[in-house]
Symmetry: C2
Subunit: 717 residues, 2 copies
């Protein structure tokens, strides 16, 4: 089982988080203090909301109305208030929202709230608008249904975030994400109380913002996919309405090929340029000294391309004007300037730049990068903006008001290497954000991000919070919802909830509910998955295909990206449709979670109900392969996982045998078990960039036949 | 069975349309001339396209690229051309597209094309860009898969439309449809070769367009949901790229309450006004002389409200400026001015207007309406726009260049009555469009629109074509895709294909494929249906709910709307979420279609395979009710169709008995059959605005036990 255990993740023992009456609640992130009490508040057709707030708090009314309509939609009970208005005078209310001060979202705002649900009424109290906004999300999530109808379980909640900065970074350069796609993500962020959308708006592959001063940026720097300023302003307002600030990132001095398509005079090397993956990735300018080897090496080697000429005064003039223009679009007090992955080669290869460096007594391109960062920092300061950058901008001379974003593991070496820990940054006086361990594009299960060691037993001085990060080499409009959600919910909880909240099983249970909640409010992760299955199957009837794909996961880490490179011209990643099986799978299999739950329950006390559930799963997987054969014919994409289908069937057969042995109390047989372990390990090998997710649980069933312990370790998720 | 037969629709006997090799093709609308030939063109990874066109035909390249990427996505074979460029020189091509002239879409454009698919290559020839665009849609639709992979069946097609005007009207006033929603509809229109989007942009309930000259129109006339001019221009360009022109409708002099919210001085009655359903619908200004009776009467009585003051010169000055501004946004040569449903009461009740009429020697408000229409027609003429209006604007003095849109059946009387037939309009020199029989919001099955009698054996002189119409009292962003698609495909075929194409069963077969094709290109009718089922079920597992809802249809005609009125304040229709079962159902049940197919096959020769299929369906329906009981608990919306679930189960039991009698050759038993007919009829009564769709087929099974004939009539769809 070595391969399955490449990533060893300890499973914290299950304990029920819900205290008091014991009903499991669905709220995510879990509140700081929550006490369950007896009883239920029943939601009926006469459900009404009264608001007590300061005059002119229109944001609050919009937020309350959205929550009200969301419950209206969820319960279908048709509530009496069409809209909740400031002049509503309701004496008999179901919910009373009291807000002391009118406020907008800013980093450091008081986001606390108190929510009291009693059988007769609900009270939400907050010091300001943003706290009420967070509390309303909790209230919506708590809505449940039993045999008698919809209700809220009675609770007393006092809640506030652990970190003031809880972000999501979305890259829209590699693949564009539509304005509606961004809005969907904002909706989901709001549901889990995230408060910063870090928008990676430019990179080699595309410049995604309309500039009126420099229109060639979007006209030549994109394939036509960019946001107009009108759209940007609309999205900024949309986010603000949900308690989220938007921070634009314009990556420089590297990762900037798309700028140079329209303005080649800003670059360190002569043009012409066009947006797209860096030259060697495209195989357009093959360099015989750097053969395409297909692998991580290619990524590293190509860091040289497309860098601003840091010695050119025109560059700073241009950036001054451009960034000044952007402050009229993005009101947030922060601008992210990237500053990552510049190895200085583009500078070293330009004699004029080298000469300038000598004249200015600079020993290395690192010094020139520092010079560039300091110049841009000055420009931003002039425009009343604070500077954020990836950790490569950190050095002992960096201004102390620069926020450093941590992303590189200490174990990395070579060109991409760690520039310090948050404690190091803090020692120098710089605040920081943590994205290390939060890269969603690495196809790691939610628990990996949830148990991020960067937040365990380390010095968090100066840490403002963190950001989930979704790069889009392997994501576009059609699969980005599932690439980010529901997993980002686990990161949101890590950043909001107390460190003591760390029951992994319960997190997965709530994440599964969150997945459905997000779906019902319009996210597309489930819809797009099922549409992709209809495409694969060529029919609306996807039951069989889904039985297989529900227990497949994409291969973990950057293996999928590397596999893409090795297949041929890597540049194709921008036009290759993401319709293969590995492109559309959820990273965490919810079926695996439910199967594991059954296996755990069964092993605890040979529970008959659990055994029945396990047999149902295994029998379905065993028979499914034969039912899929017809669909594999002439269907290359689906046939890519033909072996997985067969192996799932064989693994299920092993699981059924193990179950029989356990049921019949067959004597332990190490030879038999050893053979099964070997077989299961062979099925665990990735195929077509997918892995079978339920092998650890089947392995546990086999282990159990050896009778070693009822507390068998499951290994990772 | 009377109730089931309220709408009697003849079923044309099944004949295979495909000639030659007999393989059934999926193209919709069906081409004018299609000959199937031997063989298949195999789509492989080396699939390439060469284009021969006049210089600068950038529209053509965008269209070709979209078709290419669509096939890339569908087959997942990763084609070699990233983009097809004007300077591509490909000697070994799979497809050659030859276009003689560069053209944009206009009404009357040559939309013809020839498509030749042979085993070795494909040739698409068109006189102009628009023809090529239509031909590429045919090519994409023809893509199929067999055991060996994807292919195009060999065909020789020569195609051109029957009518030059093939439109879809969408009302975005009653409920707003997002810009993305409009784009999705444009994509779908393009797939079925429709060429006019008639956009109903203003009505009592909302003014949905940004005016820079008169910003109070959108600011006070909408709830914040409107299109900015930037968005409008983008959508106009998006449509043009798909061979579709956009015609805006600004409804006047009635249906104009939303205009008056910002500009009450234009109205015939003093304000204040606000957008929303007409006053009595809102119960805001209850008129004791007109009690709320709940029914069609309410609709008719309220036609008086909110009418432009046709005697006020300021109105014409305002409209001149406003319509002039709109010509900068909408380049199409047509503007639709509505002019429908004005009973003149708002004029009669204003003494100043009555006085003006007397002074101008006008005997009736009809004359004042004519005066108004003529004035607006003059304004539009000045702005180089042709006038279109609903048929109420037709009269013996109407200018001959006004296009009249037919919508009222000759059988209607009272305030809303027919103003003539297309032949009448033509006799006066006016061209016309037919929407009568094409109202999608009447919840009628596709066959009703397909067999529209307005196109059968009538004088079509002067008829430019027709338009499907979707009003949105009962549709919003969340269900509009399913309200329009796939049914509008049947209307598109009626307007494109020769009159001789009228095989209903084959239409339904192709419509079902179209439904999946539209889903795969991003339409949301399937996704949103399944999401709504997840909401109803409260879980991702919707199998049982779907077994029921797949064979329910919304009640036909305006019964659903009337039922809404009778439930209480009808105004709620703008905020009531469309999440009830009847809101989310497809109008045509595809399961019914398949079930009917099986029943037909079985009755023909007691086919064993068909019998097995029928038994599977019936057994699943019979047992489903008991499986659903758990879900009904505490779930009001779902419990609304509890009776339907039980009746479906009972009906299925009857079907199984009938099948047993047929299998055992039991002697005909009229008493038994009569009892079953009565039972089935009782199940056919609408409940919760839904009907069970498969009762006619079960009834046929019972009829068959009487041995009267193997050619049993099924009644309507």
């Amino acid at each position: 089982m070595k391969r399955l255990l490449i990533i060893i993740l300890a499973c914290v023992s299950l304990k029920s988080i819900a205290q008091g009456t014991g009903e499991k609640l669905n709220v995510m992130p879990y509140p700081m203090n929550l006490r369950q009490t007896e009883g239920k508040f029943r939601i009926a057709g006469k459900f009404t909301i009264a608001v007590k707030a300061t005059a002119g708090d229109s944001l609050l009314y919009r937020v309350v109305n959205r929550a009200y309509q969301a419950l209206n939609r969820e319960t279908g009970l048709v509530f009496p208030q069409q809209y909740i208005l400031p002049n509503d005078t309701i004496s008999q209310y179901a919910v009373k929202v009291t807000v002391l001060n009118k406020a907008k979202m800013f980093i450091g705002a008081d986001e606390s709230y108190k929510l009291l649900i009693e059988p007769s009424h609900i009270k939400l109290d907050a010091n300001n608008t943003i706290g009420a906004l967070r509390g309303l999300q909790t209230m919506i999530q708590l809505c449940m249904r039993d045999r008698e109808g919809y209700y809220f379980p009675c609770v007393s909640i006092s809640d506030a975030p652990r970190f003031q900065w809880r972000g999501l970074m979305i890259d829209v350069a590699r693949h564009f994400v539509s304005a509606d796609g961004i809005k969907r993500n904002i909706d989901a962020m709001a549901a889990v109380k995230m408060n910063v959308l870090h928008w990676h708006l430019s990179d080699d592959e595309g410049f995604r913002v309309e500039s009126k001063l420099f229109p060639m940026l979007q006209e030549k720097g994109s394939n036509g996919d960019f946001y107009t300023q009108t759209q940007l302003k609309e999205i900024v307002a949309y986010a603000a309405d949900r308690g989220i600030i938007i921070i634009p990132e314009f990556d420089m001095p590297g990762h900037s090929q798309s700028w140079f398509a329209g303005y080649p005079e800003l670059a360190s090397q002569p043009g012409p340029y066009r947006p797209g993956p860096r030259p060697q990735w495209q195989n357009e300018h093959p360099d015989p000294n750097r053969p395409h080897t297909g692998g991580m090496a290619d990524m590293v080697v190509n860091l040289e391309a497309s860098t601003f000429d840091a010695t050119n005064e025109k560059v700073y003039k241009f950036l001054d004007n451009f960034l000044g223009e952007m402050t009229t679009v993005f009101p947030s007090p922060y601008v992210h300037i990237g500053a990552d992955e510049n190895n200085g080669l583009a500078w070293k290869l330009n004699p004029a730049i080298v000469k300038w460096m000598v004249a200015h007594n600079m020993q290395s391109t690192e010094e020139l990068q520092r010079y560039f960062v300091n110049r841009v920092h000055k420009i931003l300061t002039k425009h009343h903006r604070e500077t954020i950058g990836w950790e490569e901008l950190f050095n002992e001379n960096i201004p102390k008001d620069v926020i450093v974003q941590k992303w590189i593991p200490a174990t990395m070496g070579g060109i991409i290497k760690s520039h310090g820990s948050p404690a190091d940054f803090a020692a120098h006086g710089n605040k920081s954000l943590i994205s290390e361990g939060f890269y969603l594009d690495t196809f790691m299960p939610a628990v990996y991000h949830y148990n991020n060691p960067e937040f365990e037993n380390v010095d968090l001085t100066g840490v403002l919070g963190g950001e989930a990060a979704q790069w889009t080499e392997l994501a576009d409009n059609a699969n980005i919802d599932a690439r980010i959600w529901p997993r980002a919910g686990a990161i949101a909880e890590r950043l909001w909830s107390p460190a003591s909240v760390k029951d992994v099983d319960d997190m997965y249970r709530r994440l599964s509910t969150l997945n459905l909640q997000l779906d019902l409010q319009g996210l597309l992760q489930i819809s797009n998955y099922e549409r992709a299955l209809r495409r694969l199957a060529g029919t609306e009837d996807i039951a069989q295909v889904k039985t297989l794909t529900d227990v497949l996961s994409p291969v973990r880490g950057y293996q999928k990206m590397i596999a893409g490179f090795s297949k041929g011209p890597a540049a194709a990643y921008q036009t290759t449709p993401f319709t293969s099986v590995s492109d559309i799978l959820f990273v965490d299999s919810d079926t695996k979670r439910k199967f594991r739950e059954s296996v755990k329950a069964f092993l605890k006390n040979h529970d008959k109900k659990a055994e029945g559930e396990i047999r149902n799963y295994l029998a379905a997987w065993q028979i499914n392969d034969s039912q899929l054969q017809q669909l594999f014919l002439g269907n290359k994409r689906l046939a890519d996982v033909k072996d997985q289908s067969k192996n799932l069937s064989l693994a299920a057969a092993i699981g059924l045998q193990a179950l029989d042995r356990l049921a019949e109390n067959t004597a332990a047989d190490k030879d038999w078990a050893g053979k099964q372990f070997n077989a299961l390990e062979s099925y665990s090998r990735p195929r077509a960039e997918t892995q079978i997710a339920v092998l650890p649980e089947i392995t546990v069933l086999v282990s159990a036949t050896l009778g070693t312990s009822s507390e068998v370790s499951f290994g990772g998720y």
